[in-house]
Every structure is written in C-alpha cells, then in structure tokens.
C-alpha cells in the first residue's frame, strides 16, 4: 500500500512539475462530488489518480492518517469500527466523496459550532505544491507549532495551493447517546432561543431552524443527554439521525429546485438580514442558507453589514464571482500567498479568486 502510494504520488509530482515548467494550467479532478462548488477553473483536466484504500487509524492516539484518494464513506466506516468519528461531520455530497475534496473544500456539518470545523481537526498533511515538490507539514500529534501552520491553510483552498496527497485528523469517540428535540417557532425566535441555550453548559451538538421549527441535538453520555433533554424540553424527533444527515447532505426539500443557493456565514446571534427568499439556519445561526434570486450585491451588502460573508454555493449567475469579494489589500495578499505555493499559477487557476 505504502509503495503504491509513493509511486502514484511521484507520478503526480512529476506531472505537476512538468506543467510548472511549461506554465500549463491544470484543473485538478478528484472524485467530482463537489465540482459544483467554486469559480470556473482554467486548464487541462488533471485526474488525481491516487490509491483509494490508505487509512491508518490509531484509536488510542485519537488520530487517523488517510490518503486523499480514499472515499470519505470508507474512512467513516473504519473510524466507526474503532468507535470513533470525524467530529466535524463533513458533508459528502455523493457516495464518491474523497478525503482530498473534504480538505480542499473544507466543509463542516451541523456539529461545527460545538465540535469545531474541518480545519480545526486537521493535524497535518502532505501536498504537492505548484512547482511539483512533495511537502509534509504538521503531523500526527495534537500540538505542533514548528513552522507556519500550512496544513490548516490547505483547508478550503480549493486545490489552488497544492495537490493534497494525505491528511491526518484528530478524531473523537462517537458519543454514547444522542437525542433530537424539536419546537415550533419562527426563525427570529429561534435565534433568540439558541443564543440563550448556547450560553448555558448544555451538551448541545447541533442547532438548526427549518420550516417553522427549531431543531436541537444533544450528545454525550446517557446520563448527560437525559439530563439535558429534561432541561431543554420539546418534542422528541424519532428519526433525528436522518434529519441531521439530510440537512448536512442538502437533501431536505428546502434544497430542491433551481433558485440560487447562498451560504451566509455570520455572527450566530445577528439579526436575520432583510432579504427576499427562504431561509434555513444551521450552525446555531452562524451558517444560514438562503434560496433567493435577489441581486448578489444586495445579498453581499446585507451580509457584510452584520460582519459576515456570502458565498453563492450552488446555481445562479455563471459570470458571478461565487466568493465574497475581498478588500484590495487582502486580495493582493491572497495573490502573493497563491504565488508562494504556485509561482506559475497552474493549480486550479481561478477557482477561488479570479
């Protein structure tokens, strides 16, 4: 397995190097499960053929090291066999989702506000940078401050800084118990309720508002969950597991149809911006989904007004920059950072910022 990995990696590194020398842009192709996301990429298709079965799980170290070509579903199965999980509940968006895509997109599921994000759990990674060098940053230990934290920078960089070969994550035990409660209320009320609940020490693990209901999940030991359920109150949702996974995978009816889907990342208790469209609030209010045909400028201005940023997640106008525009000096820094990894600008050119 190790040998296969190295050979495949060497081959990719040589190809990236050749493209670097020829200044030939590459469009990195993983499993394609998240190819809907980001700005259009210029370049020749560059399939990332990497072994699909490289998983090294060390349960007593709370660490897993996994090859980027490995399917996320396979990784989760192996972890579950050891009684553990990726605490940030990454969305798959399809059965073929790979670990490389997880890192490149950096998505996190409903547990995010309570357990942390994909980048929070990334301990280290190996990459091929834009000049074709294989580099290793971070490692398999929980604490590591030697050198700049380049592993975490890879998260959500959409393959514009390097080809991800392998990643190590901090993993955690699967909680012994889980319970979902539901209460009818409108979105405004839900935000107030969440703000109150999250200020007391409850074992909350998800909070969302959807179709006239506040949904709350508590996780932990049997006794801890029982105590919290009594304290919070509400109707028990029997198929809670299904609800949270449908939310995470965008399978709820809210996500059907063609209207543009916006993702607003905002302070969790900030007021609901006055924008036309339908809302679904996740991440205890910090990640808000908006189905709206409103003008991008209007959506972005309203989001910025509360200190957040808005991404056109799916659909909408092809010619639009899907990511929130940056101030000039920050954009210039982004370009220099990109250049420091990829001097010839060949990796997923245009995916993040044009």
């Amino acid at each position: 397995m190790e040998a296969a990995l190295n050979e495949a990696e060497q081959r990719l590194a040589e190809a990236v190097h050749a493209a670097h020398v020829a200044a030939r842009p590459l469009r990195l192709l993983g499993s394609g499960s998240k190819s809907f996301y980001g700005n259009p990429v210029e370049g020749d298709d560059f399939p990332l053929t990497l072994p699909t079965d490289s998983i090294r799980h060390q349960p007593s170290e709370l660490v897993v090291t996994v090859g980027a070509g490995t399917r996320l579903a396979d990784l989760e199965t192996v972890l579950a066999e050891g009684g553990q999980m990726l605490p940030f509940e990454p969305p798959h968006f399809g059965p073929r989702a790979s670990v490389g895509g997880l890192v490149a997109c950096g998505f996190s599921g409903p547990a995010r506000p309570f357990s942390g994000s994909a980048r929070d759990h990334l301990l280290g990674c190996r990459i091929i940078n834009g000049s074709g060098r294989i580099l290793h940053f971070g490692g398999e230990v929980m604490k590591n401050v030697a050198g700049y934290d380049i592993s975490r920078l890879m998260c959500a960089s959409l393959g514009t800084l390097g080809v991800i070969l392998e990643a190590s994550f901090k993993v955690l035990p699967i909680p012994a118990a889980q319970h979902t409660l539901r209460r009818p209320m409108d979105a405004k009320q839900a935000l107030l309720e969440i703000a109150t609940l999250t200020r007391s020490p409850l074992p909350l693990s998800a909070a969302a508002h959807y179709a006239g209901h506040l949904y709350l999940r508590v996780s932990g030991s049997e006794s801890g969950v029982q105590a919290a359920v009594t304290e919070i109150g509400g109707e028990t949702l029997e198929d809670g597991i299904q609800f949270w996974s449908d939310l995470r995978e965008q399978r709820l009816a809210f996500f059907d149809g063609e209207r543009p889907l916006w993702r607003l990342s905002v302070p969790p208790a900030s007021a609901l911006p006055d924008l036309p469209g339908d809302w679904l609030l996740d991440w205890a209010g910090a990640q808000r989904w908006l189905r709206s045909s409103a003008d991008a400028t209007q959506i972005r201005a309203a989001t910025e007004a509360v200190g957040g940023h808005a991404t056109l997640f799916r659909g909408g106008d092809d010619s639009l920059n899907v990511f929130h525009p940056l101030p000039d000096n920050l954009l210039a820094l982004h370009r220099r950072v990109k250049q420091s990894f990829d001097p010839a600008g060949i990796l997923n050119r245009g995916a993040l910022y044009p």
Partner: protein
C-alpha cells in the same frame, strides 16, 4: 543554539529613524536610553539578552501603522512583544531593531454574550478575559500556566495551549478574527464575524507565526459557558508505563477529559515542597484527570475513570469534588515550573510532542541522556495530547553547564521527531529551536516557509532570524534532512 539574527545588517540612518518614530508615537512612547531598555532585554528564555535600538510603545492602531511604515521604508527590523513570557526567545530584541511593545493595548473592547465572543486588544492578559466574562457564566478556554501574565496577542502569535486544550482546543481553535498590521503598515482583518472568513484561512496561518507575518492589534476570541460540574482525580503510580497505559485506557473508553496531566517523581517532589498540594511524594508518577459536564455525567465518569485507573495499576486514586480541593490538586501542576526553579539555580524547559504510545520509550531515553550529560531532568507532561515538558536542571554559573543543558535539550527534541513527534508543541521555535527545525523539515519545506514569509513581508523586517532557519544555516549545520539522499528537481534554483 547560536544566534543568527545578528547576521541581519540594515544600514539605516538610525538618528533619522528615531526622529521619525518620535513624530508618530505619543509622549513617552519611545524609549532609547539603556536604563529604560533594560526591562525589554529578554523574554522568558532569559539566558539570551540583548538591548534593542529603541522600544516603541504605541497606544493606537494608527501609531502601530506609523511605526511599521517608517521601519519598512528604512529597512529596520521590528520585534513585537506582548508580556515577554515566551519561552523560546521569540521576543528577544535585535540590536539594530525596534522592539514594538503592545503593552498599552490593554483594553477589552467589547463583550458580546449573545454571540459568545469578546473583542480585545492584544496586550490584554489571558486570565483577564475569563475574569471579565465570568459574571456572564462564560470563559475563554485556553489556559496556559502563564495565564496571569501572558498577553492574548502573544497567545495568538505562539498558538498557546493549556491544561484544558485536550477537550477545548488550542488558541487556534478559540480565536475567530484578528486585526493585523502588515510589515508595510497595512491593516487587515483575518477570519470572520461568524465562524469562518472568506478566502484562504490566513487566520490559521498567522496563528502561531511568532510575530513573523504581522503585528496583531485586535483579537476576537470565542467564549464558552462554564461547565456545570467539575471533578478532578489524582492517581499515583509506581510505574511510568502503567501511567501511560492508563491514559490510553481512558481515551480508548471514549472519554475525553477536560485535562489529563502527568508528573514524574522529581516534579512531584519539587511541587509538593513548594505548594504542599498533598501529592504522594513516593509515587513514580501521578496522573491528574479533570472531568466536566452535567452533574450526572461527571458522577458517572468519575466512577468509570477511577475503576480504569485502578485496573491500570494505580496504587491510590483520590477525587476532588469541591473547588478548594480541586484547586489544591491543580496548584502543584500549575506551579511545576517555579517549583523546579527552587530546587535548581536554573532550569531549561523543553516542549516536544510525541505520539502518546511512545511515552515510556521517550522517558527512558531522557533518563539515559540525563545520565550521559550529568544533568537532572524533571518531567511534566500534558499526557492527553502528548506534549512533554522535560525541565533540565543546571547551574549557569558553572562553566559549560548551559551549553550542556542546551545540547541535552536538543537531543531530546531530536528523539521526539524520531518517534513521529514535533520539536515544539506550544512554546514556539523562536531562536531556541531554530537548529532543530533543520531536523524536522527538509529543504523544500523550509523553502516553502520562506516563500510564505515573503508573501507577507517582502523585505523580511518582522522578527528576522527567528522561527524558520535559512537553508544556508541548516546546510552548515549538516543537519539538513534530505529525503533519500538527494534533492528533488536539482535543476531548480533554491533559496
């Protein structure tokens, strides 16, 4: 460790520079006479001392920008300083540089309970944040042992940890946004008002960057609700390996303690003599395990963990449930450094991390090295996350002992890397571990670090000579670690 920063030789007209700095700084905001510079000559790594050209004490972000613009224009190096408790020489001044103290940025700007966050200036002390938000039932989780003194800006610059970071994370997990002034004096906001920001995760990159990428002028930290119940268990072991296995056993049982710390016999004795925590002084090792959550949950876990500890071979297991007793249990651990300071004229604190299952092996290698160098070593260990602090005891007044202590320390760090760990878990590289960076990273990786640095600071004026060694330095040391004996793509130029 010899010092590389003295290689940096800008040739500014220093009088001109000082005159310009005077113009942008407030009355009394520029110190130049040796007497006033003295308090800034070192940080917590006090074996290294040097006076800067001047100390700048700005009070506003505008003034910080003014200082940076002048220094950038004239090519004068700038070293930022928080509280100066760093243990790796990160805030050690440069002779021809400005020491930029953030001490006057000591205001908590905003406490936002609804969003569970606080916006603070970088000079605010770590503990002051938790104290300020305590009436709201909230706190700021990362709690370095230096928390009464160290600044939040320094915490961000070092990505500091504390005894509770196994469950609640390091600084990087608890900061949402920073305002930073670049080498050129530009103001940037990194991170976001929510849980993430647009674009690259430069917030993560800047956290732990030891003042090399920018000057942090404001930090938005995440606040957590105080746990409802807390208990601490203290278990005594007469065998280190058994103590190590107990740690693995707790984790394997699906429990993530709020804190899980280990001390070896020399540390136990030193701590007991100092704070009288009631530690069992004959034990080979003790484990401290803190559990938090709801009352029912904590009660159940205390029972489960006690049983586990006993099964793992603990001779004695005590439980502290009230605040007083809990604080007594922790007092010894939190005072471990000063306690060791009392039994030796000097001590040198190391900070390697290791995969936990290699603990017994590393400790026996440390014991052998201790014999070899003829210096005592006491070990304090963030056992939950594999972060080992060997404290090397020495006497700086005895010729050659400091050098021996440093060599011993270097060997310990190299052993940590060998077993798959890191040369630093939370104290940073600074000037102290700059040579060991050549062991942990190969030339391509170091080159990538330098390229990132150049993206932020083209002229290299921010904390030059710290954190990342030049390739030249590593090559001279012969420590450059080159995979399979050859550099990939030898035809490409390197720097």
């Amino acid at each position: 460790m010899s010092d590389e920063s003295s290689d940096f030789k800008p040739s500014p007209d220093t009088r001109l520079a000082l005159g310009q700095l005077q113009m942008v700084l407030p009355e009394g905001g520029l110190l130049i006479d040796a007497e006033s510079l003295r308090p800034y000559e070192c940080d917590g790594l006090s074996a290294y001392r040097r006076l800067p050209l001047a100390v700048a004490l700005p009070e506003t972000v505008d003034q910080v920008q003014g200082v940076m613009r002048i220094c950038h224009r004239l090519g004068i190096p700038v070293v930022a300083r928080g509280a100066g408790t760093g243990l790796s020489g990160g805030a050690l001044p440069l002779e021809n540089g400005i020491l930029l103290s953030l001490a006057r940025f000591n205001r908590i700007v905003e406490i936002d309970a609804a969003n569970r966050r606080a916006r603070v200036q970088p000079g605010v002390r770590n503990l002051a944040i938790s104290e300020a938000v305590a009436p709201l039932g909230l706190y700021y989780a990362p709690d370095p042992s230096s928390q009464i003194a160290c600044s939040i800006g320094g915490n961000v610059a070092e990505n500091s940890g504390g005894v509770h970071c196994l469950k609640y994370g390091l600084t990087v997990h608890n900061v949402q946004q920073v305002e930073m002034i670049t080498a050129e004096g530009e103001q940037l906001l990194l991170g976001g008002g929510g849980l993430d920001g647009p674009g690259y995760d430069l917030l993560a990159l800047v956290t732990g960057s030891e003042g090399l990428l920018g000057v942090i002028t404001e930090v938005t930290v995440k606040l957590l609700p105080r746990p409802a119940h807390v208990s601490v268990l203290l278990a005594a072991f007469d065998d280190i390996e058994a103590a190590g296995n107990a740690v693995a056993g707790i984790i394997a049982a699906g429990i993530v303690p709020a804190g899980l710390e280990m001390m070896d016999n020399p540390s136990i004795r030193a701590a007991e003599d100092f704070v009288h925590a009631g530690y069992p002084v004959d034990a080979t090792a003790i484990l401290l395990c803190e559990l938090d959550g709801s009352e029912a949950e904590v009660a159940a876990q205390v029972e489960q963990v006690s049983a586990l500890l006993q099964r793992a071979g603990a001779g004695e297991v005590r439980t502290a449930s009230d605040t007083d007793e809990r604080q007594r249990f922790w007092a010894g651990r939190k005072a471990a450094f000063p306690a060791v300071g009392r039994i030796s004229p000097d001590y040198y604190c190391m900070d390697g991390t290791i995969p936990r299952h290699r603990l017994a092996e590393i400790l026996s290698r440390i014991a052998n090295l201790s014999d070899e160098y003829g210096l005592r070593v006491a070990n304090v260990f963030h056992a939950g996350d594999g972060n080992l602090h060997p404290l090397i005891l020495y006497d700086a007044n005895r010729p050659g002992e400091l050098e021996r202590a440093e060599q011993l320390g270097a060997r310990i760090l190299e052993a940590s890397v060998e077993v798959g760990g890191s040369i630093t878990g939370e104290h940073g590289v600074g000037i102290e571990k700059i040579d060991q960076m050549c062991v942990q990273f190969n030339s391509d990786e170091l080159a990538q670090f330098h390229a990132v640095k150049a993206a932020f600071d083209t002229k290299g004026i921010l904390n030059p000579g710290k954190a990342v060694p030049t390739l030249h330095r590593c090559a001279e040391l012969g420590a450059m670690h080159v995979h399979k004996g050859e550099l990939p793509f030898p035809e490409l130029e390197r720097f």
